[in-house]
Amino acid sequence: MKFAIQVNEGPYQHQASDSAYQFTKAVLEKGHEIFRVFFYHDGVNNASRLTIPPQDDRHIVNRWTDLAKQYNLDLVVCVAAAQRRGMLDDNEAKRAGKDASNMAEGFRISGLGQLIEAGIQADRLVVFGD
């Protein structure tokens, strides 16, 4: 079965990203397919490569990157939500004349249409939020 996942909150502040990760991992380990993980609202902050969590804590961003690598996941960050909150890849930074980018490996920026498409293409959409 094909699953799509929506993540509405950033790392650490709310459990949403943790729950979404554990759920996504379980989906994959059971042999189902993940069509896409879509990061919306503060969820875009899960894509920052600049986080430095304490040594004894989980590394939420790297966990997503590693899972994406292992299973070839499509991790999509909403462009409109990302711009509001200062989450940029190299292209977006260049286009906007910003002197830095902060997006981690394994994520890509795209439009809200990707969320609707995920709703259409996947058999299930599961939303994790506050």
Partner: protein, 100 residues
């Protein structure tokens, strides 16, 4: 349908709205801070017991355990699942509605 509730019933109205408006026969999963609704001894116990007549009610065990509770602490008629069971609930119950 699968209804999910991830907020404490003491803090937010999500559980109340879920129980008021969900189609009969829905599965209802409590997870994250939502699991407090599923345990014995709180002021919501009788309401949840009643809900088990209309809905199949579940609670996520890893969230219960993290918060100091065990499978035997949940109300009779509420089943516990792990993340794998959460996936099965989604697969088996059609559309998922999150009461955020």
């Amino acid at each position: 349908m699968l209804q999910t509730v991830n907020k404490s019933p003491f803090e937010k109205n999500a559980m109340q709205s879920c129980l008021r408006l969900s189609p009969q026969g829905s599965a209802v999963l409590f997870y994250e801070d939502g699991v407090y609704a599923a345990v014995k001894g709180t002021r919501f116990e009788s309401q949840i017991k009643e809900a088990t007549q209309q809905f199949s009610v579940y609670a996520l065990l890893p969230d219960l355990e993290a918060r100091g509770m065990r499978a035997e602490d949940v109300i009779d008629g509420v089943k516990t699942v792990d993340y794998s069971g959460f996936v099965d609930l989604v697969a088996d119950n059609g559309a998922v509605q999150a009461w955020l």
